[in-house]
Symmetry: D2
Subunit: 364 residues, 4 copies
Amino acid sequence: MKRILVATGGGDCPGLNAVIRAIVKRASQEKDWEVLGSIQAFNGILWEPQEIVRLDEKAVAGIHYRGGTIIETTNKGGPFTWPFKKADGTWDVADRSEEMIRKLQYMNIDAVINIGGDGSQRISQRLFEMGLPIIGVPKTIDNDLSSTDMTFGFQTAVQVATEAVDKLVTTAQSHNRVFIVEVMGRNAGWIALHSAVAGGAEVCLIPEIEYDIEKVLESIEKRFQHNRGFCIIVMAEGAKPKGGTVVGAQPDEPGYENFRLHGASVYLREALKNAGCQHDIRETILGHLQRGGVPIAYDRVLASRFGEKAVELVKEGKFGQMVSFRFPNIIDVSIKEAISQPNFVTMDNDLLKAARGLGITFGD
Amino acid sequence: MKRILVATGGGDCPGLNAVIRAIVKRASQEKDWEVLGSIQAFNGILWEPQEIVRLDEKAVAGIHYRGGTIIETTNKGGPFTWPFKKADGTWDVADRSEEMIRKLQYMNIDAVINIGGDGSQRISQRLFEMGLPIIGVPKTIDNDLSSTDMTFGFQTAVQVATEAVDKLVTTAQSHNRVFIVEVMGRNAGWIALHSAVAGGAEVCLIPEIEYDIEKVLESIEKRFQHNRGFCIIVMAEGAKPKGGTVVGAQPDEPGYENFRLHGASVYLREALKNAGCQHDIRETILGHLQRGGVPIAYDRVLASRFGEKAVELVKEGKFGQMVSFRFPNIIDVSIKEAISQPNFVTMDNDLLKAARGLGITFGD
Amino acid sequence: MKRILVATGGGDCPGLNAVIRAIVKRASQEKDWEVLGSIQAFNGILWEPQEIVRLDEKAVAGIHYRGGTIIETTNKGGPFTWPFKKADGTWDVADRSEEMIRKLQYMNIDAVINIGGDGSQRISQRLFEMGLPIIGVPKTIDNDLSSTDMTFGFQTAVQVATEAVDKLVTTAQSHNRVFIVEVMGRNAGWIALHSAVAGGAEVCLIPEIEYDIEKVLESIEKRFQHNRGFCIIVMAEGAKPKGGTVVGAQPDEPGYENFRLHGASVYLREALKNAGCQHDIRETILGHLQRGGVPIAYDRVLASRFGEKAVELVKEGKFGQMVSFRFPNIIDVSIKEAISQPNFVTMDNDLLKAARGLGITFGD
Amino acid sequence: MKRILVATGGGDCPGLNAVIRAIVKRASQEKDWEVLGSIQAFNGILWEPQEIVRLDEKAVAGIHYRGGTIIETTNKGGPFTWPFKKADGTWDVADRSEEMIRKLQYMNIDAVINIGGDGSQRISQRLFEMGLPIIGVPKTIDNDLSSTDMTFGFQTAVQVATEAVDKLVTTAQSHNRVFIVEVMGRNAGWIALHSAVAGGAEVCLIPEIEYDIEKVLESIEKRFQHNRGFCIIVMAEGAKPKGGTVVGAQPDEPGYENFRLHGASVYLREALKNAGCQHDIRETILGHLQRGGVPIAYDRVLASRFGEKAVELVKEGKFGQMVSFRFPNIIDVSIKEAISQPNFVTMDNDLLKAARGLGITFGD
């Protein structure tokens, strides 16, 4: 008999519920194993009264095709940085990690499965070092983790972005317009790169390659003849113009606040107009549409395998490990090592080179 | 033997291509009838060289499931307001309508089918009064025309908006957030009203009902207990707060420019925060995603019937008429009368009352 | 304070859950109104122990975008034909209607809302005549009821069928094939007619028009030149060949059993081959794919309005009435009259004539 | 200056058009390179008159989001087995490979890119051995090739199958039914395995594991209590019962013809009833719905990379090679070696083990 506690932290991601369901399904194959869920990451353990839910087969029935997470998630609080109001009315944070571990012992928790990104896994590692039997399940919709071939949610985000491009192509064509589609990716351009290739965009702007507005303009003009034509630009929210080439792009320049406020695509539109673009330019910011909704089959399979493997690791007592996909297997890697290896688009990346081969320009 | 010329004007709308295909399919049932298309509304006739394309069965194969219009569209130019540069370098507009009618006669055009909204049909009426044999096909994605039970494109826009709400519900739930979904509708709230009911939103804000920010806040708070809960607000881009209640809503107030620039949902977010809303609020502006993409079956059926009927009217010589849907038939109405009858959400509208019955609040 | 009991009977239909949710949402606007659900139509009342569930706001949260019905449905049992085993081991049916009404009184049920088709509403009428305060909500995915402009579920079925046609068009083109898509409709051809127009099919076969295999073959051949081309046939499951033209079509002919077993599309394929069709012919039977899944926005709006209106009728005490859509309002009609008015495709139907105008052939 | 000829052979597969578009896009980056397409695999070269089309950027605009192949495909004919009628009226096949190579030389073709499966690549290899400069692009919707980590089209088929399961779950639940979903896979169970995990099925039957009908029945019964419950079975079209356990499963047994005629799912339904299953059982055969339609983003990215790489190989003169995906790169492998290495589900496959861990039974 074992009692497992599950938590989900950070931004939501299509596939979270499939991981939770798989953990419950796998645990139900063992005699008398129980699964509990802590509401809003670890906060449910620390709240008074606690918010802990029983996750049995009935609770997880059909959740694999629902977006979000049934045990909620948050970026606030957590065992090491619990906010509290001081006597003078200002706020501070407290370390409640030892208290939390004591509470988990009191609850007879044998293992914790922590599903979350970078920040969440750093917490996992610290708790593991304090003696908590914990397993990590990676979650990053940006797919920016080199310790796994793929993370769940990414392909769904790419699919949503690609379907948006498909929709905008027909309206762009009909109106002879330039369309900018702003997708997720503050530091990693993977969603932009994949959806630009899948959607057949002409221009792709990513955080890893600073763009030259003149080069972007040149690519646009190639697509128009006598004012007829259209152009699709897929850009990551973190894409930035080349240092200093455009006023407002740098923190110490006038207009910078506007740049941050409006987002990358609105900034680009204005920059293109300032650079002399005569065409009608429109932008669409996909935002949360990429996070919500039904995960595609690919992500459900990956998420289900992650959840199943996490329980295997509990059974084997391999704590401090994180599940990972190394084609064609799900393996485990050390949380400690995993969290220090980001995965960005490099200049020699095979897909980037293919995209260039297909005529997609990156503004460099 | 007849030669029909088709034009599409104004913003694109899912189903335009289905109308075009139906016109061609119907005409091909008659002996030696031909269909031509003018590129970018009537501009293709006036340009030198002209941009006129042959629309035969091959040209329209499979276009009914594509968004946009294969003969392009525009809001610029037109026979009555053709822009030209004067000797002093400034721009003016010229009336080229008589020239255009002569050109159509020279091209042996027997009938013109003009697919377009309010503005386009006003042009149709003027041309008809000048003697041009013209048939109108109504196009308004907002469904704001009382002379027809329904216009094509509307149900696709509602579907896109509803799917967006579905996606945002799961992320709202997972993060305990308030989500504002901004949909089309500058003057008419039909898309917002339909998608709020279909998506199960809690609040719906439309141009026809000025909202009281306190009432909106109240509706939000009802959905939260101890900071847990979520709330979906569907709002039309033209929804406005009650006169004077919030600084910046009126043209003569500071911040008004910001209100126009950011759009209705960003404005609402700020207004809610200013009114004391403590919850995390996010907004998504659907924009062009509602116009592009594959029309749903409902719109393809309606658009196909409109196109088919338009050719029937050509055959019957009923010029100056516009096709219209009066369940269960497609009929024809006078263009002149049709364009003067808008259709807004009224306080006694049956759907509005049903929405209130379902607990949806409109901020009044 | 009122207590309403809801039941769903007959085949499931997209939108059932939206009706249920709307009933609960509307009832929650009244002080102390309660909603209960009987599992599997009225069977839940008659079973021992009973299967009655409380339908509060939590129970119906988010169900409007789920197919099926959370209170289950069935075609078996019912108050007038309850199956029981006789002493001699054979089965008979008993009339338990009076017992059921007594039980409902004992449960303090003030009103029953019965969501169901033809058969279910006949039961409603009989129970109403026995004194039960009952309201009907029509449910027929075939849209074959003349007392309402539209029934929920129909547009979703048409959408699913149309998307299937879209998918099959590309494979038909690539392989130069004839594809038969068999859709629902035993007696009414509405789904076939709408999806044939929306999908751009060349042939549409419906129960209301017996088809001549030679005419179908002729339509196919027109689409091929030198063995290249393709043809899409949308056919209702109830479409039948002209009397006697093909061996096996009539009950007293050899091969009839095969015809019934294989379905209309397999029969047609064989008949086409026997009639000399040399092209590769494939068929796809959509079956239950048309019933399941997420209802489109149109159906959710209609279903929500039906549910809301049903509770209005309870409030007004208008028992024995059925909700109905008469554009643009939801009205109520007498159940008694409603169930006697089917709605089939007639030869002068406007949509049928438009389909012919578009070049679609019906095999007559 | 180079002239490349492209051909697509075998069953169509989502992503074929994305490969073709990528070839054209990549070739257009080189000075004066041309791309031609042969209609219906190599048949277009051999027909008189030939059917060869120019594939320039205009011809491939927007085709990446369309299913099928714009240059058509076929399983008939081919250079080594060209059918012809002998003097005595019977049919025979001729080897026209040398003639075809001569024709390609006459057409100044510098390289051939052959997109196709097993059979097509065997033809590629033979032509390569005869001296034709040829590059292979693998195409198998079943993903049954060990020389590449993934083939395009597979994930789209899994997505379609999973969406079908999602739809059938709601109707199964509402009616307390057993649903059998028959998916593609004559010899390899990958589509069934992936969609069973993604869809949350209870039973998965694949060609690699003969099923015991009693075990399947047992799994079904576990899902029902007092006749309430439901069960989803995903089965490959090639799934077979254990040798001899059911009459009709073997070629020399009565009923075998029926088994072949009706397909695996109809057979299973009857076998379950014969074995005593009392529940309502329905089956859905997805068939061609899995091949058609819009490829998902994953497949478009993979297909685009395959096409781009194929042109790279032409540039490098690496003929006789086939493109292949070895995460994260697209590489090339020898066609000769590639075609001899199938990829079936083995008992120690990691995904199969995970599926069992999740409680999915395979009837063994």
